[in-house]
Each structure stands twice: as structure tokens, then as C-alpha cells.
């Protein structure tokens, strides 16, 4: 499938386009590398010529950490000089030094570089329980030719998502219930066979996409006595066809976000769906958890992007018979699939909206004197329905955090400029550096429109005392969301644990909710004996007509605590209660999983639970999809 000489010109163009791909994601040097094997786009292709691009191998542990976030080669560390450094070559921040991080880290958490809490280096396979196998199932599976593995490392890798306690246990070498085997179907038909066999032999199936769950969704129920099979969809990652007339693409559900985007980009298209986890999370996972992308203002959330879904259930395949853009055919069956969190079946193929790659893309940022003004501005932007592709508002603590991640500046001139800017904002404009906050913006579209749009937004911001603070700050803000997950691993190296969680809330309660939840976290930590005040910070990450999505980061130094994870869980629990008491939702996009299911009933009422139960009852009476999420 590799490109050949006579279309090298097209190849070149494709590469050029590739450079536009999620700029915050990729290393600038990537142009010279050969890491990405995007296939040449055959624009008028049919379903006989699917587009493949594989970056996730079956042996995930070959490129990814088994007990932390992301690629094995990319991590934060404090070097011998005590300076923070980000390793690898994949990200813009890779190979850079962040001189401010150490002070921020020590100052914020009261942590010390002298107190390391290193992780176990390798999986202790002897700790992994031997697989409990269903021999009949295996025998029949062998006849289908679907690859599978009983290897402990493969199984451990698929036994967890990225909840704090999951990673913390792995770092300590503690391993609980893990799947008994892993299967890698290659297509929809493979999945049909596997599900059929599972039903026949009463085997528990847990679908696995990108493994980025933060809702305990992938945790194997310890009480499950049947053989658990992890169904890894990562090999089902082809774009089966692109329909340029209707602007749709039919894609296998195992494809991960970055591959999908990169491959479509090569054809001149994008989906525009960019959740923060898009490097690793999969299309099927997005559908199954009702994911949200940062550019939803232009492209929509996953439920807006999906045109048609195919899901294999114990009862057979569920799908719609047409691709009409909207139908009135009773309750939308897609909404049983969206957010089903692997409890009803495996999503195998998705027809999705695509858009031409935007002509122009521009970052921006605005500094506000305080968070209240910032929120008021976002509310106004939402009222005018003129939100750019992305608009996010960080609170002061997160702004400080962002500053700490600023890489070493190369020239005296830029540092001089930075100083001047700071002087202007704090002294001349009278902003209090301990109260100001920053909104980051991303505009996309035709050049003219972007410029016009930009002006409109900055004009509104000015009404709320906002000052434009440059493209650079904006871009760095977005880059942070991709590296922040790596930072948690650094924290854990020095006895700092943390997590993020999110909610959505009506506009009139945004400020109250942010303040109360942050304060609740601080209070709970104090009451539970956390020695140093925690980092408790938030940002507004999405705007809607009637409300916003708020994202919290929470981390603390656990030195002196005998059971840090328990303390952490209690605080997180309290924070969620506070969110609900203040009118926030149970989740905006992370999902319910097992972590939040205790609150589902009060969120959707007893009747609502009953409806979901009866669907489950019909679709999967023997609980083959037994991950026990949601209900």
C-alpha cells in the first residue's frame, strides 16, 4: 500500500497538509521523520480500498507505559540540576527545559525533590492471577482465526483505565482482577463471531478501545466468576470509505483519534472531533461514552457527528437502515448506543460527518482581571452564539501553573518582551497577578471569517475588561492539555497525587459551583489530614447556549497519610456531591462507569434507571457485556 513514484507530487501535498494536523499535538521536527505512514489518499475510493494507518500495535506496552500515561519515551522528570524536562521527540515541549516548574511544584504542594516515590519498574507477572479459561470458547475461537493472547502483560494492560487509583496501584505493583484473555478482532464480522461464541459459552466480554477511561469503566468486576475476555478493537482501524458528496466517512470503531484525523487530513478532510485524549482514545470509545471534543462549537460533540452506528449485541446487530440527516422514527436508537459504556455490545463501525480542512487556524488569548469577569465574557459570547472553535477560561491557579510550564526562553529579547507584557498588565492595567485569569481561543475557518470572528470576540472581551494576550499564550494553553496527563506521573514520583473531573452546569451557577467545589476540596483535604493545602483549580472548557462545561484539577501531597488513595477518593466523592448540590451534572463527557454509578439514579430518576435496565435485559439477558458500568 506504500506510495509509488508517480504520485510523489500528491504525496508531497499530502505531507504538507499533514503539517496542519493538530499543531499542538505534534513535534515540529516530525517533517523529517518517517514515524507516520499515512497512506496515500485515494479520494474516490470504494469500500474495496480501505485506508489503513496503524500506530497502536497489539502489544501496546511496546510503545506505551504500562503504569502511566502515554508513550514510554515521553515523560517529565527533574534532571540532575533539578530542572524539569520533558523527554522524547513527540511533542512541542519534548526535549525542553521548564525552569519554573520545580519552584511551582515545591511551592504548590510543599513537595520536595528529595522525597521520591518511584514506581515499580516492570509488571511482576507472578502477581497476575493465572487466567481462568473457558476451554470450549477458546477451542472454537481458534477455528475463527481471530488472534488472542493469554500473556499476563497483555491482560494487565487491559485491566485498567486512567483513574488515579488504577495507576497508583500499578505503580505499587498491585494487580487486581484482570481479563483472562485478550482478543483482537479485525473486522465487524470477527466481532460477530466472538460475541456469538461468548453467548454460546457464557463468557464475559469487556470491549476495550483506547484504554483512556477515567470512570473505572475498564475495571474488571471482582465478583465476576466467568472467564473475562477483553475485546480489543485497536486492530479495527480502517476508514472504509469517504463520501465526498455527503461529507461522511465510514470508519471502523477501533481507530484512535490522531490516526483518524491524520488520515482524513491527508485526504483534505477532518472530523473536527478533538477530545483531549485524542492521541489514544478510539472512535468506538467516544460513541460509547458520549465524548466531547474541544472544537465542538464548530463540529459538534460526538452525538452530533454520528450519522450511523453499527453495534454487535448478544441479540444481533443494531443499526439504522438509512443515512437521512434526521428522522422521526420514535426515540432515537442511537441514544441507547451513545453512552452505553460497553454494557450492551461492541460498536464496530461508525458513519461520521467530515468537513474540509479549515483554510485558516488561529490561536488567541485574553487576560481578564478576574475569573468572574472571564465567566461573564464567556456567557456573553455564548449568548451571541459566536464562540470560536474553542474557548476556554483558566482560573488564576491554572494560569500560574501554565506559567510554570513555560519552556526556557531562547533569547534575552523574548524574556524582555515577556517582562514588558507582565509589567503592562499588572502595573499599567492594574491587574492583580493573583486574581487575573486567561481565556485561550482557537479560531478556524476561511481567513476572512476568522479575522472577523476574532474581532467580534475580542470586542466582547474588552467589555469585560479583557486584554488580548497573544497567540502564543493561547497555543501553549492547548498544548498543556496534552501534556498534563504526563505531569500526573511526575507528581506521583514525588508523592503528589491528583486527578481531573468535569461537569456541566447552567450559566447562572458556574461561578458558585466553581468556588464551592474548589473550597470543598480544600476543606475536605484539611479535615482528612492532608498536610499542605491542595491544588484545587478549574477551567471553563466549553460553552453552550444554556451553560458551560467546567473541568477541575485537584492534586495534593500525600506525605504523612497512611492511605492516600482512600483520602483521595473521599475528597473526590465529596467534590462530586458538592457539584451535584450546586446544580452540576454527574458528567459532561467522562461518563459514569463504575466510579459514578451510585449517583446515576438521583440523576436520571428511578424510572430512567428502569428504562435502561429493561433495555439491558432485552439486549443482553445473560450479561455477556458484564463490565457492570452504569447500572
Amino acid at each position: 500500500m506504500a506510495s509509488n513514484g508517480n504520485n510523489s507530487e500528491r504525496h508531497r501535498i499530502a505531507h504538507q497538509r499533514l503539517r496542519i494536523i493538530a499543531g499542538h499535538l505534534l513535534n515540529e521536527e516530525y517533517r523529517g521523520t518517517t514515524r507516520i505512514f499515512a497512506n496515500d489518499c485515494k479520494a474516490k475510493l470504494t469500500d474495496t480500498n480501505p485506508i489503513v494507518s496503524r500506530t497502536v500495535p497489539r502489544k501496546r506496552q511496546e510503545i506505551m507505559k504500562w503504569n502511566g500515561w502515554g508513550y514510554s519515551d515521553s515523560r517529565f522528570l527533574f534532571n540532575k540540576k533539578g530542572q524539569a524536562e520533558f523527554t522524547g521527540k513527540r511533542y512541542r515541549l519534548s526535549g525542553m527545559i521548564m525552569p519554573g516548574l520545580k519552584d511551582w511544584f515545591e511551592g504548590t504542594f510543599g513537595a520536595s525533590l528529595l522525597h521520591k516515590t518511584p514506581a515499580t519498574t516492570a509488571v511482576n507477572t507472578s502477581m497476575v492471577q493465572p487466567p481462568s479459561l473457558n476451554e470450549d470458547f477458546i477451542q472454537e475461537l481458534k477455528t475463527t482465526g481471530v488472534p488472542f493472547s493469554l500473556d499476563p502483560e497483555d491482560r494487565v494492560f487491559r485491566a485498567h483505565g486512567h483513574c488515579l487509583y488504577e495507576i497508583f496501584s500499578l505503580r505499587e505493583g498491585k494487580i487486581g482482577r484482570v481479563p483472562d484473555m485478550v482478543v483482537w478482532p479485525n473486522s465487524h464480522n470477527d466481532v460477530m463471531k466472538i460475541v456469538e461464541l461468548a453467548c454460546q459459552h457464557n463468557v464475559c466480554l469487556i470491549p476495550y478501545g483506547g484504554g483512556t477511561s477515567v470512570s473505572s469503566g475498564l475495571e474488571c468486576p471482582p465478583e465476576e466468576s466467568r472467564s473475562i475476555v477483553s475485546l480489543d478493537t485497536s486492530q479495527m482501524n480502517r476508514i472504509l470509505w469517504i463520501d465526498e458528496k455527503n461529507l461522511t466517512a465510514h470508519i471502523e470503531a477501533g481507530i484512535v483519534g490522531q490516526d483518524l484525523e491524520r488520515t482524513l487530513n491527508a485526504c483534505g478532510y477532518c472530523t473536527g472531533h478533538e477530545p483531549d485524549s485524542m492521541e489514544f482514545s478510539s472512535l468506538g470509545g467516544w460513541v460509547a461514552t458520549r465524548a466531547s471534543g474541544m472544537k465542538k462549537n464548530i463540529y459538534g460533540n460526538i452525538e452530533d457527528l454520528v450519522v450511523r452506528v453499527k453495534m454487535v449485541t448478544p441479540r444481533g446487530v443494531i443499526e439504522k437502515s438509512c443515512q437521512g440527516p434526521r428522522t422521526s422514527t420514535g426515540p432515537d436508537i442511537h441514544h441507547f448506543i451513545l453512552g452505553s459504556e460497553g454494557t450492551l455490545g461492541v460498536i464496530t463501525e461508525v458513519t461520521m460527518k467530515i468537513r474540509p480542512i479549515p483554510e485558516h487556524k488561529k490561536y488567541g488569548s485574553v487576560v481578564f482581571p478576574n475569573f468572574e469577569q472571564g465567566v461573564a465574557c464567556l456567557r456573553e459570547v455564548a449568548r451571541h452564539r459566536c464562540a470560536p472553535a474553542s474557548i476556554r477560561l483558566m482560573d488564576n491557579a491554572q494560569f500560574q501553573f501554565g506559567l510554570a510550564l513555560k519552556p526556557q526562553v531562547s533569547s534575552i529579547f523574548t524574556s524582555f518582551l515577556d517582562g514588558l507584557k507582565k509589567l503592562y498588565i499588572t502595573k499599567f492595567k492594574g491587574f492583580d497577578p493573583h486574581r487575573l485569569c486567561v481565556a485561550t481561543l482557537l479560531f478556524e475557518g476561511p481567513r476572512e471569517r476568522v479575522l472577523q470572528h476574532e474581532k467580534q470576540v475580542y470586542d466582547i472581551a474588552a467589555k469585560f475588561g479583557g486584554l488580548a494576550a497573544g497567540e502564543d499564550n493561547g497555543q501553549r494553553g492547548y498544548m498543556l492539555t496534552f501534556v498534563i496527563a504526563y505531569l500526573r506521573d511526575l507528581g506521583m514520583d514525588y508523592s503528589v497525587i491528583g486527578e481531573s473531573f468535569e461537569t456541566s452546569v447552567p450559566w447562572d451557577r458556574v461561578l458558585d459551583l466553581c468556588r464551592n467545589v474548589k473550597e470543598r476540596i480544600v476543606k475536605e483535604c484539611k479535615e482528612r489530614g492532608v498536610q499542605f493545602p491542595p491544588l484545587s483549580t478549574c477551567r471553563v472548557t466549553q460553552t453552550y447556549d444554556t451553560g458551560a462545561c467546567v473541568y477541575f484539577y485537584f492534586a495534593f501531597n500525600y506525605r504523612g497519610l497512611s492511605n492516600p488513595i482512600h483520602v483521595y477518593e473521599q475528597v473526590e466523592h465529596a467534590a462530586r456531591e458538592e457539584i451535584l448540590a450546586n446544580g452540576g451534572s454527574l458528567s459532561h463527557h467522562h461518563g459514569v462507569g463504575k466510579l459514578r454509578k451510585q449517583w446515576l439514579k438521583e440523576s436520571i430518576s428511578g424510572v430512567g434507571i428502569g428504562m435502561l435496565k429493561s433495555v439491558k435485559e432485552f439486549v443482553d439477558p445473560n450479561n455477556i457485556f458484564g463490565n457492570r458500568n452504569l447500572l
Binding site: 451557577r509 458558585d512 464551592n516 448540590a581
Partner: protein, 672 residues
């Protein structure tokens, strides 16, 4: 072993309380002027800057809540909304405070002078001040002082100024008729306004607009944390020195911002102001007896300058532990009930919320009671009230010493002067209260002005003034003895010594008196257990598995305790008798107080009772409320007049039960 630790935890005598500092001491040694002009820089909530009163008014007038109500009222009345808006502006104008530092400084100066002449000392627990200072910085603070005197809030502001704390804004009642209370004293009213008082009409029942302006005004100040909010839970000055049943309106308002998530928490600070001698002492007794009081006016207050020549002893101000609304509400209030309706639409609090606010109010009043400082005179008054014919002074000394021990065992907050012998303490107390007691020929007796010309009725009232004044001192310590005393009374009235029967009796009495004393609603079992524990601890009773048995040395304790409640028991009986003997068809509610009063006068003059409390309008009102609550009476409208209809059966039963003629009903019935 386990029960022992449980008991010791709630042993009231082990309660730790702070020490006091006299703030007048420094005033006596340095310049008042310099003090009044000194640099005043209080810490504020989250470093807020204080808000100008005009800005505050603007925020209130522009609030969503007020807009909503204005539009609603406009729709209902058909008036243009800007006319209603105008009305709202006027209401706010009439209500709002105009806190000014210069006025505070003026008061700081004049009050220093006045306090130094009036009082020996003004003592404050500084640890409480420190806690308050901390609380002010963390959350909006509500100050809840007890209310015994006009000068309560002057004292409060004076102390906060002295300690460089944020000055409070104070809710002051305006009287039923505009201008009859403080506002009437035009000049003083304006002065108080400028020292942070804001004025609320006494009754505005159905006036939606008034309520909206008022509640939004209070909530705006609270939400923004501009200043601590101060109000009196009891609603009005207690004329009897007993704490009054708390009013819930303002407490509801200050809690709402927490319920609705507008603030993280609210700190409620109970404050106990105890006077060795209340300035209004005999004034109150006259009021209770319906002897016309001098009209409250500026000139009247000036005449009160006579007061300045008297010695009023010491004042103790105890700032209690701040109480977090958040922790109280934990598990009791489901805040998400406020999430589905816009928060600016006023809604009646749910039953759950009302219950919670009510419980909280009682808790806070009990905190106020607990931290009231009691002087020896209070013990003496309690003894004198059981010896209205006088008592031998040696015996008085002996009994005072005994009662002191009992009070301490029950956790009273006694301020006993150092190592002085009891006799000396008693005699100096007697001399401070020379207006109320006479010592003659080794006997101590309540003062009685004997006027030759007076009719028996006049003589009776003269004596009653003295008795009720003295009773107000006894009342100060009632809360310490209340529960054991109810138990003692229950043991008297119960037919047997069986625990169950005593408990029924206890619950019955507790129910009868729940308007008279501060008894937390629903806390029957706790109160009973507390009473049992205290009596057991002082050796008065033995609690067996099934029975409660009086010990030999317990008899005097029990009879003293039940003697303490005797006047109330008798007073209620008089009211019952009145209804069963004198009322046939019904009684206009307006007639109630004068009618019962003359009935009581008749009874006393005919020597059938000796209970002067029956003359007190406070007791009469409480008894009325109890009778209504217990369905012995009901209110009906007859010819446009609120009329009380009697259920003779119930009244008779109540009378007989209180008289000990029949045992108390089962609690199940009693609760009905």
C-alpha cells in the same frame, strides 16, 4: 465503662469556657478621645473592601430577585412597574443603614464615658474575639446576640470597634406603627442608622414587595460579605430574662444563600450578653403587669439620665464558637432541590428546610443560654423567690452556698468572686440590688413599698413589680435547672416511680411548657436522659432498670427544683381555671390579657393563690399559645373579631393534671 465515657462527654460541668478581659480597664487609664479617633482597620471577608451604602442599594435595586417580584406585583396590581420600582426605592430608603465611621467614633467616645459611669466593667472573652476574627475572614458571618436591653447592640458595635473587627449591620425592629420604636426618636434613630442599624417593619405579612426588598438587602450584604450581619434571634427584648422562642424569618434569609449555593458557608455566632443589673429592670416588670410604661421618645430617654447615677455592676459578653451552617445542614438539607427553578424566584422554604431552620434556631438560643454568665445574685434571687415571706440571712447564706454547688454540678457558668466567703458575697449582692431587697433584723425580704393610701389592688401591683423583677433574676438560671426540674415535677405528678410513667409525665409537662422555656423541638429523649443523668450525678435519684427512686438526700434537691417551676405551674392553672370557670361562649382575643389579669388579681386577693407570675403578660401569652397548641382552645372569627373558643374538657383535664389530681396522659396523646 463505655457508658461512663459517654456520660462524661456530656457532663456540663466539664464544659470549657474562656476567660474574660475587662475592656473598660484600658478606657479608665487612657484618653477616650484618642481611642475614638484611633486608626481603625478591620480585616474583612476574603479581603473585600467595604461597600458604599449607595452602591449597596443599587445592587439590591438591580437584583434579579427584586425585578422579578416588582414585575409580579405590577402584574397583580395592574400598576406600572416603574411605580412599584419607586415604591421599592422608598422601602429601601426607609430600611437601609448608612454606616459611617465618624458616627461610630462619636459613639466610641460617648459610650466610653457612659459605660464607665454605669458599669464596673465590660468583660469580653478574647478567645471568642479571635475566633470571630478568623471566621470573618473565611465566611460571611452572622452575629446573634441575646437581647435583654436596648443597649445590646451598642455594646456589640462598641466591642467590635474596640477589637478592630468589622462593624456589623444590625437588623432593628421598627414597631407596628411606623416610628413608634426607634425611628420615633428621630435623632437617635438616625444616629443608629449611621452606626449600622437598618430598620424593618414589625409586620409586613403579605407584602411581597417589602419582603423582597428586605430579604434581598440582607442577602446582598451577606453574599458579598461586606459586613457581619447582626440580629436578635429572639426578635425582641426579653422582659423576663428568660430566652424567648426564636423567630425564624431572618435566620431563614441568612441561610438561604448557602442553601442556594451562593456562598460556601455561613458562620453563625451565638453571643451571650449578661447584665448584672439590666438597665430596664423595673420597667420590664411594669410592662409585664400592664402598668403603662413611659412613652419611648427622645425626651424619655434623656430623662433616663437618672439611670446614670446608679451602679449597674458588670456586663459579660461571651462570643460563642461560630457554628457552620454547612456542617449543620450536612445530611439534613438536600441543596439540589434549589437547582431546578431559577434562584431569583422566591419560594416558600420546604418543610424540611423549615424544620431545619427551627432546630438550628433553638440550638443557637441554647448556646446563648449556656454561655450566659450568672452572678451570685441570681442564686440568691432563686432562693428568695421560694421564700416570698423572707428568709433568715444566715439561712440564705447557707442555701446560697448549697445552690452554688448544685448549679456548678449542672454546668452553670457562674462568675463567683475569687476566694471571698459566701456571706460576704451575699451581702454585697444584696447591697447592689438594694432596690429589690431589704435586710432587716437578720431577715432578708423582698422590698415592699407600703403606702397607706394604696388600695389592696395597688399594693398588690406594687409588690408584684418587686416580685417579677426579682423573678427575672431567677429566670436567668432557669435554663440550668430546667430539665432536672421538669423531671422532679414529673416524678411528683406521675402516679408511680416507674420510669415509663415518669417519662410520660415528663413529656407531658415539657409539652405544656414548650412556649415558656427553650426546649428543642423533638428532643424529648435527650432532655429526659440529660435530666436523669444530672439528678443521678448529684445523688438525688437512683436510676434503676425500671424505676427512678429518690434518695434520702435527694428530697431537698427535688423539692427545690420543683419549687422553682411551681409559679409557672400555678400560673398555667390560673389560666386554665379562668377558662373553665369564667368563659362560657368564647372570649375575644383582645380581651384575653386584661380578663385573665383581673381573674388572677381576684385569686390572689382572695388568697387562693400566691403566684404573682400569673399576673405577667408573658406567662399569660405563653399559656395561651400552649392551650391553642394543645387544642384546649381554638381561634374562630366571630363578627370580625378573633375569638377564643374553649374546649372545657381538655382545659379541665389540663388543669387537673397540672394540679397533680390526675396522672399525665400517655405521651402519644399528649403530643396530639
Amino acid at each position: 465503662m463505655e457508658s461512663k465515657t459517654l456520660y462524661s462527654q456530656r457532663d456540663p460541668s466539664l464544659k470549657k469556657r474562656d476567660d474574660f478581659e475587662d475592656i473598660l480597664e484600658e478606657r479608665r487609664n487612657s484618653s477616650d478621645l484618642r481611642y475614638a479617633l484611633r486608626c481603625y482597620t478591620p480585616v474583612l471577608y476574603k479581603g473585600m473592601t467595604p461597600c458604599k451604602t449607595t452602591i449597596l442599594k443599587t445592587i439590591v435595586l438591580q437584583s434579579d430577585q427584586l425585578h422579578y417580584v416588582i414585575n409580579q406585583v405590577a402584574k397583580e396590581t395592574g400598576e406600572a412597574s416603574d411605580i412599584i420600582q419607586e415604591e421599592a426605592v422608598n422601602i429601601l430608603e426607609e430600611m437601609a443603614h448608612r454606616l459611617q465611621l465618624s458616627t461610630i467614633r462619636f459613639f466610641a467616645f460617648t459610650l466610653s464615658k457612659a459605660f464607665k459611669t454605669l458599669f464596673q466593667s465590660v468583660r469580653v472573652n478574647e478567645e471568642g474575639i479571635q475566633r470571630l476574627q478568623q471566621a470573618i475572614q473565611e465566611h460571611p458571618v452572622v452575629l446573634l446576640p441575646s437581647h435583654r436591653s436596648y443597649i445590646d447592640f451598642l455594646i456589640m458595635s462598641y466591642i467590635l470597634y474596640t477589637y478592630d473587627l468589622a462593624l456589623p449591620v444590625i437588623a432593628a425592629g421598627m414597631g407596628k406603627y411606623l416610628g413608634s420604636y426607634f425611628l420615633g426618636m428621630k435623632f437617635i434613630g438616625e444616629m443608629l442608622r449611621m452606626s449600622g442599624a437598618f430598620f424593618i417593619r414589625r409586620s409586613f405579612g403579605g407584602d411581597k414587595l417589602y419582603w423582597a426588598v428586605f430579604s434581598e438587602y440582607v442577602k446582598t450584604m451577606l453574599r458579598n460579605g461586606y459586613a457581619p450581619i447582626e440580629f436578635f434571634l429572639e426578635g425582641t427584648r426579653s422582659r423576663t430574662c428568660k430566652s424567648l422562642t426564636p423567630k425564624l424569618g431572618l435566620l431563614n434569609i441568612v441561610m438561604e444563600p448557602f442553601f442556594k449555593g451562593e456562598v460556601f458557608d455561613v458562620s453563625l455566632v451565638p453571643i451571650s450578653i449578661s447584665y448584672e443589673r439590666v438597665l430596664e429592670e423595673t420597667l420590664y416588670a411594669r410592662e409585664l403587669l400592664g402598668v403603662p410604661k413611659p412613652k419611648e421618645s427622645t425626651s424619655g430617654l434623656l430623662k433616663a439620665r437618672r439611670i446614670l447615677s446608679e451602679d449597674y455592676g458588670s456586663i459579660h459578653v461571651y462570643f460563642g464558637q461560630p457554628v457552620s451552617v454547612r456542617s449543620l445542614a450536612q445530611g439534613r438539607i438536600n441543596r439540589s432541590q434549589y437547582n431546578l427553578v431559577p434562584r431569583y424566584i422566591p419560594r416558600k422554604p420546604s418543610e424540611e428546610t423549615q424544620g431545619f431552620v427551627n432546630d438550628t434556631a433553638f440550638k443557637l438560643v441554647r448556646k446563648q443560654e449556656e454561655n450566659m454568665v450568672l452572678r451570685p445574685w441570681v442564686l440568691i434571687a432563686a432562693i428568695l423567690m421560694q421564700n416570698l415571706d423572707g428568709i433568715d440571712s444566715a439561712l440564705l447564706t447557707e442555701q446560697t452556698a448549697w445552690l452554688r454547688g448544685l448549679a456548678q454540678a449542672f454546668g452553670a457558668f457562674l462568675d463567683w468572686p475569687g476566694q471571698e466567703p459566701v456571706g460576704k458575697v451575699v451581702s454585697s449582692s444584696l447591697s447592689l440590688h438594694h432596690g429589690l431587697v431589704r435586710v432587716a433584723g437578720g431577715r432578708v425580704q423582698l422590698a415592699q413599698e407600703l403606702q397607706e393610701t394604696a388600695s389592696p389592688k395597688e399594693a398588690l401591683f406594687n409588690h408584684a413589680v418587686c416580685v417579677l423583677s426579682c423573678a427575672s433574676y431567677r429566670n436567668q438560671i432557669l435554663h440550668v435547672f430546667l430539665r432536672p426540674a421538669l423531671l422532679a415535677l414529673a416524678m411528683d405528678t406521675a402516679a408511680t416511680s416507674r420510669k415509663d410513667d415518669v417519662y410520660s409525665s415528663f413529656v407531658y409537662l415539657r409539652n405544656v411548657f414548650s412556649n415558656e422555656f427553650i426546649l428543642c423541638p423533638g428532643a424529648m429523649v435527650q432532655d429526659f436522659e440529660e435530666a436523669c443523668y444530672l439528678l443521678m450525678k448529684c445523688g438525688a435519684v437512683q436510676i434503676l432498670k425500671q424505676d427512678i427512686v429518690v434518695t434520702e438526700r435527694g428530697q431537698p434537691v427535688l423539692s427545690f427544683l420543683s419549687g422553682m417551676l411551681e409559679p409557672f405551674l400555678q400560673g398555667y392553672q390560673v389560666v386554665c381555671r379562668y377558662f373553665s370557670e369564667e368563659v362560657s361562649e368564647g372570649l375575644a382575643e383582645k380581651q384575653y390579657i386584661p380578663a385573665v389579669r383581673s381573674f388572677a388579681v381576684k385569686c390572689i386577693l382572695s388568697d387562693s393563690i400566691r403566684c404573682y407570675e400569673a399576673l405577667s403578660s408573658d406567662l399569660q401569652k405563653n399559656a395561651l399559645a400552649a392551650l391553642l397548641r394543645m387544642n384546649a382552645l381554638r381561634k374562630a372569627k366571630v363578627a370580625d373579631q378573633a375569638t377564643l373558643k374553649v374546649n372545657k374538657m381538655v382545659v379541665k383535664t389540663l388543669e387537673d393534671t397540672l394540679g397533680g389530681k390526675v396522672p399525665a396522659q400517655k405521651p402519644v396523646l399528649a403530643r396530639l
